[in-house]
């Protein structure tokens, strides 16, 4: 995966922006769900 030719780079196969974007696509909703869950936990300890 590290030995890329210039042609490989042109086709965007290892575009860091694409990788970041698709991870954000799944992590943002997951983070939202996680936040909604975590805010319920303090009630368990009476706070």
């Amino acid at each position: 995966m590290t030995d890329l030719t210039s042609e490989d780079r042109r086709d965007g196969a290892l575009n860091p922006a694409l990788i970041a974007l698709v991870w954000l696509w799944v992590l943002v909703p997951f983070g939202y769900g996680l936040y909604q869950l975590v805010i319920k936990i303090p009630a368990l300890f009476g706070t």
Binding site: D8, P29, L37, K40, I41, P42
Partner: protein, 460 residues
């Protein structure tokens, strides 16, 4: 759309394609279909709006879980043969269609359409979607199969975390809450959620790629793969796998591990209230019980990735020794200490639920170790019938015993002592079954020529 678009040959990754694009593709499917565990949010408005019983409002979910197991078992071989893009598109189509049919059913006030749409059609999407990325992930991450499948299967646990607040907000926005919910508002919630999931899941089938025949992780060679008697370099077909004792031993292991987890998870809020009823007010007690459920959900999701990725260096068999053996001891600790120490109770239940999630997440890599990569998706699909069995067994044991104890006038933790002792017994049986797992006899192996091809990703 040309049929060729879905073919395996069209999604062979070009040189330089990052394998780190594959987990988010898998997550976009699993985070969506994990919505199934948030079905309970729909129950109160459906019961009030459609004037149906609690049993009737649970039908779409129950049928969906049954269809998950059945469709994973029936279509597993086709998923392996047609490739992950085909499987993900079919799964997305069925899952989204389930929501749209349900919306139509509610507009027409025909509840059977909700059962058919969400339960039957959507349930097929659950089964195909659940197994769709598994074999592809294992082939992209031959050095870390536990981590890769752990990420995806954590997504299934995390799906409900997203769907639960989302559903609540949509129901509120469309006036479908309270004692007299607007049924059209429930329909609109189904419609909007279906459309959201259609867009969200599209990233999965657009992005998924299979590795080229000669692809390997940088700096990694098959000869460097972790060597162990239980990690085969051969391949076993799905048809042959179910003839092996290893498959059925693992089936029992998964069934009892899941049963033990569901036993607590399914009745988490009442268990907490019975163990720790002292609170400043009923509202505070309800909030604390909700916090307990939230903490268990978090343990379930995090256990999937944490323990599954640990299995890559600790070994699959050792991890199931841990889940089942330590799980039994933790159940014993809860049974003996009951409500005398809240911290001990919380720690024990958190670990038990993390082992429950881990059991799901580690099993694809265990199957890869035992049966090779050739038809691991199809074998995984057949193994998921254990999930359906445990889904009936766990709640049945805990609820039947607890209800009988309540009827007998038993108060507090005593309502669950017998059920927890049964769980300990099941975990011990699972532990013994795991100990009995040995390498698969070579008479079940595929011819070596096939094996040599598939270990380099030809069948991904």
């Amino acid at each position: 759309m040309a049929a060729g678009f879905l073919q395996r040959e069209r999604i062979v990754a070009p040189p330089g394609w990052s394998r780190w694009l594959i987990p988010p593709a898998a997550l976009s499917i699993h985070l969506a279909i994990g919505q199934a565990y948030a079905w309970s949010v729909f129950k109160p408005p459906l019961e009030a709006g459609m004037d149906i019983s609690g049993v009737a409002s649970a039908l779409p979910f129950t049928l969906g879980i049954i269809m998950l197991g059945l469709s994973a078992a029936v279509f597993g071989t086709k998923v392996d043969a047609n490739g992950p893009r085909w499987a993900m598109l079919v799964a997305s189509t069925c899952f989204v269609a389930g929501f749209l049919i349900s919306a139509l059913g509610l507009y027409l006030r025909q509840y059977w359409l909700v059962v058919f749409g969400y339960g039957f059609v959507g349930g097929i999407g659950l089964g195909i979607g659940y197994i769709s990325p598994v074999s592809t992930l294992i082939k992209w991450f031959p050095d870390r199969p536990g981590l890769s499948t752990g990420i995806a299967i954590m997504g299934f646990g995390g799906g409900a975390l997203i769907a639960s607040p989302l559903t609540n907000q949509l129901l509120t926005a469309f006036g479908a809450t309270g004692d007299n919910p607007d049924v059209n508002g429930i329909a609109q919630t189904f419609l909007v959620m279906g459309l959201i999931y259609a867009v969200f899941m599209s990233v999965g089938w657009l992005l998924i790629r299979v590795p080229a025949d000669d692809w390997r992780p940088a700096g990694w060679q098959p000869s460097q793969a972790k060597s162990h008697a239980l990690i085969t370099t051969a391949n076993v077909s799905a048809a042959n796998a179910i003839k092996t004792p290893q498959f059925w031993l693992l089936w029992v292991v998964l069934t009892f591990n899941v049963t033990a987890g569901i036993g607590i998870l399914e009745r988490a809020a009442p268990i907490y209230r019975d163990f720790f009823p002292d609170a400043s007010s009923p509202t505070a007690l309800a909030a604390a019980a909700a916090g307990f459920v939230a903490m268990l959900s978090l343990a379930n999701a995090l256990g999937r990735i944490l323990w599954s990725s640990t299995s890559d260096w600790a070994g699959r068999k050792n991890m199931y020794r841990f889940y089942l053996g330590v799980g039994a001891l933790l159940y014993l600790a809860v049974t003996l200490t009951t409500n005398s120490n809240k911290v001990v109770f919380l720690i024990c239940t958190i670990f038990i639920l993390s082992f429950y999630g881990a059991g799901f997440a580690t099993v694809p890599a265990y199957l890869r170790d035992l049966f090779g990569t050739y038809q691991v998706g199809a074998i995984h699909g057949r193994l998921l019938t254990a999930w359906s069995t445990a889904g009936v067994l766990g709640p049945l044991i805990v609820n039947a015993i607890a209800d009988a104890r309540i009827a007998a006038g038993v108060q507090g933790p005593g309502r669950y002592t017998t059920a927890f002792m049964i769980m300990i017994g099941l975990l011990v049986v699972g532990f013994v079954c795991n100990e009995l797992i040995r390498p698969v006899h070579e008479r079940f192996h595929e011819p070596r020529a096939d094996a040599a091809t598939s270990t380099t990703g030809a069948q991904a």
